[in-house]
């Protein structure tokens, strides 16, 4: 018989090791999945994890790593603050959409004026859009005790409908020959989130993601509010005695994560995506949940995890075109990763022991 023995303190070593072990386990089981789909598993795994970094066309794919990683890291940093305190914002996808709609709306309102202040205003618009969308579940939770998980998720579907309405109506390109979708911000200089250094993939969203990582690190390690966040998650009763205001924490965590998700949406719509379209959102808000856990809710961990997840996106695209691996196989692969992470967390908090036979 095997028994679990709770560790007096979570194991530091396992806490660091689980993400790596989980990635390895996912590679093994992912390989089995790819083999079941009739692909060579070793080739598939190599295509996903090796090709984008060191393969033949790596110089093309490496910038993509920043482009795909930045929104994931930006959103996941925000989510991790709430997750640490037991506040579950799972509607980041909706906040991402709202950030993009408001931000792009601000930019398009100025069209065709060229001025330096348009892009900063758009950034503010994006942040506000996401913040506002996240404040709905936050305020409802604080005022009425409504479950933030369900409300934030319902608002994703509402945001998707709004996105459709915007790209067919209010924000539709008047010179678009009736096709849905807004004007392309890439060809509007003042609103374009262009690459800062040509060919690197480095845009303002990447800068924002790095700032967010530093901000979160300082907040959690050097600031009272960060301490309260950690305390609430680890010892809710102690937090009460320490005078933590739960409602202030809810407003802060949901507001910040909404704002960061909104920013991610704005940088995406003004840069890589270029325009508001019906299928503008591609699930970064949900994948960021995996990124947050893969990074163990730690800012630096999230930065690394964002890179790994970006890799699976890019590698998945390559595997799709080169090996004919279905796009959904990568989605399954990413879901598997979260499974292994959660399951292996057992080793952080418990010790597995062989039980001694007890004589009754």
């Amino acid at each position: 018989m095997i028994v679990l023995e709770k560790r007096p303190q979570p194991s530091q070593a396992w806490s660091m090791a689980t993400p790596a072990v989980a990635v390895l386990a996912t590679m093994v089981f992912g390989g089995v999945l790819f083999a079941a789909l009739g692909k060579n598993p070793i080739e598939a795994i190599q295509t996903i994890f090796w090709e984008p970094l060191f393969g033949e066309h790596a110089s093309y794919y490496r910038p993509q790593l920043l482009i795909k990683g930045a929104p994931l890291v930006l959103i996941a940093i925000g989510l991790s603050l709430g997750f640490k305190a037991g506040i579950w914002n799972i509607g980041a996808e909706g906040q991402y959409i709202m950030g993009a709609i408001v931000g792009a709306g601000v930019g398009l309102a100025f069209y065709p004026l060229e001025a330096w202040y348009i892009f900063p205003l758009m950034i503010m618009g994006g942040a506000l859009g996401g913040w506002f969308w996240a404040m709905i579940p936050a305020l409802l939770k604080v005022k009425f005790g409504t479950n933030e998980i369900l409300v934030s998720l319902m608002l994703v579907y509402v945001a998707e409908q709004l996105l459709a309405s915007m790209s067919l109506g209010l924000l539709k390109n008047p010179q678009g020959y009736g096709f849905p979708g807004s004007r392309n911000l890439q060809s509007y200089d003042s609103a374009h989130n262009a690459e800062l250094f040509a060919g690197t993939g480095m845009h303002w969203g990447v800068v924002a993601a790095l700032i967010a990582v530093i901000f979160a690190y300082v907040l959690l390690n050097r600031h009272m509010l960060g301490f309260h966040i950690r305390l609430t998650g680890e010892a809710p009763r102690a937090a009460k005695f320490a005078g933590v205001h739960p409602s202030r924490l809810i407003l802060f965590c949901l507001g910040t994560s909404g704002m960061l998700a909104g920013l991610a949406g704005l940088f995406e719509v003004a840069g890589p995506a270029g325009q508001i379209t019906i299928d503008f959102n591609v699930g970064y808000g949900f994948t960021a949940i995996i990124v947050a856990f893969l990074g163990r809710l730690h800012p630096v961990g999230i930065l690394l995890a964002g890179g790994v997840m970006a890799l699976t996106y890019i590698g998945g695209d390559i595997a799709q075109s080169k090996l004919g691996l279905p796009a959904s196989a990568i989605q399954v692969f990413q879901g598997m990763l979260l499974f292994f992470l959660l399951a292996l967390d057992l080793l952080t908090n418990y010790r597995i022991r062989a039980a001694r036979k007890e004589v009754a």
């Binding site: 409802l140 998720l153 995996i290 967390d345």
Partner: protein, 306 residues
């Protein structure tokens, strides 16, 4: 705009059809939550049920086998949740999310060859005199059998929770798992059964969408119904009959909204399509004041030390 084109009898009949997937999933989740487990993977189990049911009924030509496969598919997926939360003692919120993310990907992987295929139809109930009655006939006696199964399941769960020993034990486990454990009940085993029942129900609900309500397969076709079912359990204060009432309310909103779209009301389609989600939020806000009905051990991890 022509509202007179909306036929109230057909409206009620289609309302019942729209409500059934939500009802099936919600009844399953209600049992799970009564046992003290919060499984946020309903959406994932539904969509896996939707494709398993669809694939099997297309392959075998039998919708009945399809529904059976859907129940099994949902239950098997819920076993992953069991592994995470009951064996590996992982956080239930995160594990439920994992289940949904995984289920959505897995279903679209399985469903690749089934886009655009028409599934075999399930015969509707046809009782010679009763079904032909005006008004009452189409509303009460003209549906597919699974719709009646949903109502029967509601009654069965209600009776089980209220009158049987099994129901009492289930509630004890959900209210205070430590006390139930001390009394000698197998907390983990009971919870595993409840979770699998919830998975099977969600699977049935998903298959109802892909086989009867729509009927065809498209990726992500459950479109949040699983999440609405979760909200419905809160709405119902963990009572089966109120879940039925709630499901009909949501079904009603969906159907009226679709009818208004068809009738060409001046409100844009997108805003009408938002309404079920907005109403879910509204209902949650109204009902969230009273939390006293929630099972006391809901979402808490149980680890037997002795």
């Amino acid at each position: 705009m022509d509202l007179s084109a909306i036929n109230p009898v057909l409206l009620i009949a289609s309302l019942m059809v729209a409500a059934t997937p939500i009802l099936l999933a919600a009844i399953g989740e209600l049992v799970v939550e009564k046992a003290g487990v919060l499984n946020l993977g309903v959406e994932g189990m539904m969509i896996v049920g939707a494709i398993s049911g669809f694939a099997i009924s297309v392959e075998t030509g039998s919708p009945w086998l399809g529904f059976l496969a859907a129940a099994i598919g949902g239950a098997v997926l819920s076993l992953l949740f069991v592994l995470l939360t009951q064996v590996a003692l992982a956080n239930q919120v995160a594990s439920g999310l994992a289940l949904t993310l995984f289920g959505l990907g897995f279903s679209s992987l399985m469903g690749q060859g089934y886009v655009g295929v028409k599934p075999p139809q399930m015969d509707k109930l046809n009782i010679p005199v009763l079904t032909d009655l005006p008004v009452i006939g189409p509303i009460l006696f003209g549906h597919d059998p699974v719709l009646y199964l949903g109502i029967a399941l509601t009654a069965a769960v209600w009776a089980m929770l209220k009158y049987t020993r099994m129901g009492l034990v289930l509630r004890a486990v959900g209210e205070n798992h430590d006390a139930a454990h001390a009394l000698g009940y197998k907390v983990v085993r009971i919870r595993i059964m409840a979770i699998m029942f919830g998975g099977a129900c969600a699977g049935l609900g998903g298959a109802y969408i892909s086989l009867i309500r729509v009927p065809q397969w498209t990726e992500g076709m459950t479109a949040g119904v699983g999440w609405i079912a979760l909200a419905l359990v809160v709405f119902a204060s963990w009572k089966p009959w109120r879940a039925l009432l709630g499901a009909y309310l949501f079904g009603g909103v969906t159907v009226v909204q679709l009818n208004l779209q068809a009738a060409g009301v001046a409100i844009p389609v997108e805003y009408l399509a938002m309404s079920p989600y907005l109403i879910t939020i509204l209902v949650l806000v109204i009902l969230s004041a009273d939390k006293s009905r929630a099972p006391a051990s809901l979402g808490r991890i149980f680890h037997a030390t002795h």
